[in-house]
Amino acid sequence: MAFSVLIVDDCPAMQTVIRRILGISGFDLEACYFAADGSEALSMLRRHTVDLVISDVNMPKLDGEAMLRCLSEDEKLRKVPVVMVSSDGTRSRVDRLVGMGAKGYIVKPFQPAALRAELERVLEAENV
């Protein structure tokens, strides 16, 4: 079933890479949106129906952790699964974000197959 994705990362090149991985993974994408920080992401989520968020953690303005906190406080948006993609793989960060509701976590550097596998796992678990 087709689904919509929001990619949140302050690096345009990383946005491109994630979009490419989604494409070659064979996912049936209805739409793909982009945001450069958590603030822009929240704005996009209020304007569009999104089934999955893939988000960086360290970003200017509003980082991934603060964005996740905002989502968890919104009755409607808290249902949207979020997969974090970050260079921060420290135990404290991963545990904190998963505790805040992140459904998946991929640590950079990653190979394309690793991101695909994590997305498949989350999509299946969340019945997207």
């Binding site: 494409g23 070659i24 190979q111 394309p112 197959a113 695909r116 596998a117 796992r121």
Partner: protein, 173 residues
């Protein structure tokens, strides 16, 4: 009757016979790229030796299967000729070991592995699993009918490829 097709060094074989198995031996620094389309039941193995044909253009002309950048496109195109489709292809790679006579400064095994990853990424092809690196020789076998990718590392029993979430082949350790 099951037929075993041997893929030699700097060689490539593609088959659409469901009873066939493709097998290639003695993967040291070389890389085997194995592909399989489960719908058309087409499978192929390329056993390449070196990363780039610019290293020796005349050799590449005589045998393009020797190099990753000339061999991989040929492997895929031969599979397409049998009815395989790019979006359906499952790709596994094995080899790229640092063999005992490979001077550390050359590191051909690692260069081969990186070249294969780069080429496949550029071509928009995902690698399902990898069994690369280390220092041991490997043998791989691909069952064309089932798509099973079997791996044997020197001195250990044959193991079926298991896809781990990180895309790395789960070896029988």
């Amino acid at each position: 009757m099951a037929q075993e097709v041997i893929v030699g060094v700097a060689d490539c074989r593609v088959s659409n016979h469901p009873e066939s198995s493709l097998i290639t031996y003695a993967l040291g620094s070389c890389i085997a790229v194995a592909i399989h389309d489960p719908v058309s039941q087409v499978g192929g193995i390329l056993h390449l030796m070196l990363p780039e044909s610019s290293l020796d253009a005349s050799k590449a002309e005589k045998n393009p299967y020797m190099f990753a950048d000339t061999g991989i496109p040929l492997l895929f195109h031969q599979a397409y000729a049998y009815g395989a489709e790019k979006s359906r292809l499952v790709v596994c790679i094995a080899g790229g070991a640092q063999v005992i006579n490979d001077a550390a400064v050359f590191n051909i095994g690692k260069r081969n592995c990186l070249a294969v990853r780069k080429l496949l990424w550029r071509a928009g092809v995902m690698i399902r699993s990898e069994a690369v690196g280390g220092s041991e020789s490997r043998t791989v076998r691909l069952e064309v009918g089932s798509g099973k990718f079997m791996l044997r590392t020197a001195g250990r029993p044959e193991n079926t490829s298991e896809r781990r979430n990180d895309g790395v082949l789960c070896l029988n350790r």
